[in-house]
Point group: D3
Chain length 126, copies 6
């Protein structure tokens, strides 16, 4: 493990997905998923999100599109919130999902629009 990349990753992950969210993930880790949490922090958040060649806002936009197409609702919720944190506006999310619906197909678009509206409603209530 590269300690510095790990720590950069953990910090970026907390800044994007929320400090509380990530602290919970780390605290609840056990022997079973600890190596996976380490992989997430070091590679996904350190070695890729940590690269400065793309702004975080762009990375969030790409993730909304990719995770919609990958059909992973749990992760989509987390990354929709992360996208708002990274400065993607709701109007921009709409535009991304319009494009997702054309390229990934209408059922993919319907699901992602519904999930985004649920996330927004939850945030507006809080």
């Amino acid at each position: 493990m590269d300690q510095k990349t790990y720590e950069t990753g953990l910090r970026i992950r907390s800044e994007v997905l929320g400090k509380e969210y990530v602290e919970n993930a780390m605290k609840s880790a056990d022997d079973f998923n600890r190596p996976f949490q380490a992989l997430l922090n070091e590679y996904c958040w350190g070695s890729v999100w940590g690269r400065e060649e793309l702004p975080r806002k762009t990375r969030s936009m790409l993730n909304i599109a990719m995770i919609s197409i990958l059909n992973r609702p749990h992760e989509l919720r987390a990354h929709l919130k992360g996208a708002l944190t990274n400065g993607v506006t709701r109007d921009e999310i709409r535009e991304i999902l319009m494009q997702v619906a054309i390229y990934g197909g209408i059922p993919c678009g319907v699901d992602s629009f519904r999930i985004a509206r649920e996330v927004f409603a939850e945030l507006d209530k809080a």
Copy 2:
């Protein structure tokens, strides 16, 4: 059909994918695929790409990520060229594909990197 949306779509498609490419597609259309070409122009390129809420460069970045994950090499080649036309740099394409490899999986990343290098080699030879 909405004639104006169709024409906007045809124009944007030509600007992004290349005039020659699109003229060939339209000329070679026959009774079998003409309705699909019309749908492409009006719907995909007019009603979605024609929306001005996202810059074309961003749309191209999203497409590289989505089409990589959708596993459609022919379309990926066309949209990699379109991305360069829309101002996405080769360095930015690399960053997108690094992120694709993490979220869409390593075999997806390997394929997209290989295809991108083939497209660049072809362009460098021309």
Copy 3:
């Protein structure tokens, strides 16, 4: 937008998915998803379902197969009901899902059979 295609689409969508279902979708639309609802009505339901070259029953059969494979349970529920409305029998749905299980794989078949049985149970209770 082509007003006539939009209206044809809205009408067909209501006839297939149910008037109440579609009225709810349209009433609850907000600035965020209104452009997507318009796209759904005009393109998906107007420009494609509105084409008369295939009977609605056939389109419903294709959708059950496609949406099963696309792994989109929400949409599958809506289109299973729509299929019954369009004259696809429960026996025909079984046959489609047997074929889905072979071509899309057993886990896809298991999920779609379970969802279809839930939809039938819900309808039988109403």
Copy 4:
């Protein structure tokens, strides 16, 4: 193995995909893929295609849609030819692929239209 189902399957497979095509597959089978050829004949073609609750034409239409979305060009070619044999017209194939493009996404539609045109061109030349 159920010998009768196997033989029914082998016969239907030959009628749909072509006698020559299937004879080649069976003749070239070796120890490695013989059990898979048996599974194909008995399970896919005997136990599912052999069910008489759906006409072969409908099964072919479903297959064109499913195999397009599954992104399997080799099988799509074989089943496009089989569909023509089973009485699906080229106009009906166009309609299926228009619907595929909306539900499975534009890149899926582009690929399937291109493949269908190649298959038609090949048949027209023969």
Copy 5:
């Protein structure tokens, strides 16, 4: 139907997924899904799981990987339990899911790790 293969399949399915689970599936079967249950028993569990060339433990490991990537949570839960029955340890499941995360992408890994932990928690409570 080959009665012997069917019975072998039903037996193996009960041994792997649990007698109670399979008895419930068979008892609750109706005219709609009975042919699918027969297909499951004869082909999936009889003709493939019944082959002795791979040990059940290996088949379970393959299934965890495949069903994770196929994105089918219901089936994944059943096969995670079946894997434990077949002698796959929790540590081995972790290793499989680490590899799934790399090849199938991070969101796939996150989902499968969450589901596995839920299954383990449920078993530990029982």
Copy 6:
């Protein structure tokens, strides 16, 4: 980067996919794909393949199943050869692909059997 993990990864990758194959990949790397090659070596081959909790033979079996389902023929070829190197027999590959065909669907099985036979034919000629 963790230099030790990188070097372990590069060594394992060479042992599995072949020294010549990997040397070519590294030599032909340029500014565009060098960071991806580094990620491959460190992350995929070092941090995951480098874990000793699963034997290489098992990892190869999982990869054949996963990459078949992910529909990535280039990578499947490389990993079929790697599997033979890691001690997976041709008979075992057949069994894996039989299971792939049932869980991932018949078209996936057909493609993977064809590719495996091409790889074997190529190796037998060499």
